[in-house]
Subunit: 120 residues, 2 copies
């Protein structure tokens, strides 16, 4: 079921410093910084020949990566993303296997609030 | 300088359980388990179309991932590996940029002990 590794996401406190490390020290190909206020982060991609690194910096109040950075003062790997052919089939298979699959709604469609639905 | 993402290494407490998750739940292509006593780990590779996941389970006393698992009870991403064309050139460039580059000697050549050299 899981296919390509789409990206590895790394949370950082200071994007300028992180870009300097990945571009200047490690010689990586680095994209422009993009603010994603709906997700509470700014992103920069490090483009590798076979996949990419997504650098995440907190943006605004209540960023979803703020707590992670409280626990990981130097930053750290936040998540990895696998590609699947059919996201609904993947969800059903994972639920059948007992995995906890979480349902989030995009903040853009819900008054700027990231909404999680939980059956109760 | 950095090239392909060679692998993402994930430390796990129980390789059988981790293999069940990656092979059965996530539908990944999973290699045989290989004991690597010189490195203090057993490894399984999850082969993805563009890179691989290296599952690491502690092996023997004083495994280098034991402390990591003490701090991360559920396991976690331990390291990522970037490929470089010339490891010595990479070392020199990184040292010149102020990075702390650590020199380890392979245990197989040094009485089964992982030796780190530090200039003092």
């Amino acid at each position: 079921m899981i296919g390509r590794l789409n990206h590895v996401a790394i949370a950082v406190r200071d994007m300028d410093a992180a870009v300097a490390v990945y571009r200047d020290t490690l010689g990586g190909e680095v994209s422009e910084k993009v603010a994603q206020p709906d997700h509470g982060v700014s992103t920069v991609f490090v483009v590798l020949p076979n996949t990419k690194i997504e650098l995440l910096e907190p943006l605004g109040a209540g960023s979803p990566i703020a707590k992670f950075l409280d626990r990981n003062a130097d930053g750290g790997i936040h998540h990895i993303c696998y590609e699947v052919d059919d996201i609904l089939a993947a969800r059903d298979r994972l639920k059948a296997a007992g995995a906890r699959v979480v349902l989030f709604l995009h903040p853009k469609d819900f008054c700027g609030t990231l909404v999680e639905l939980e059956q109760a």
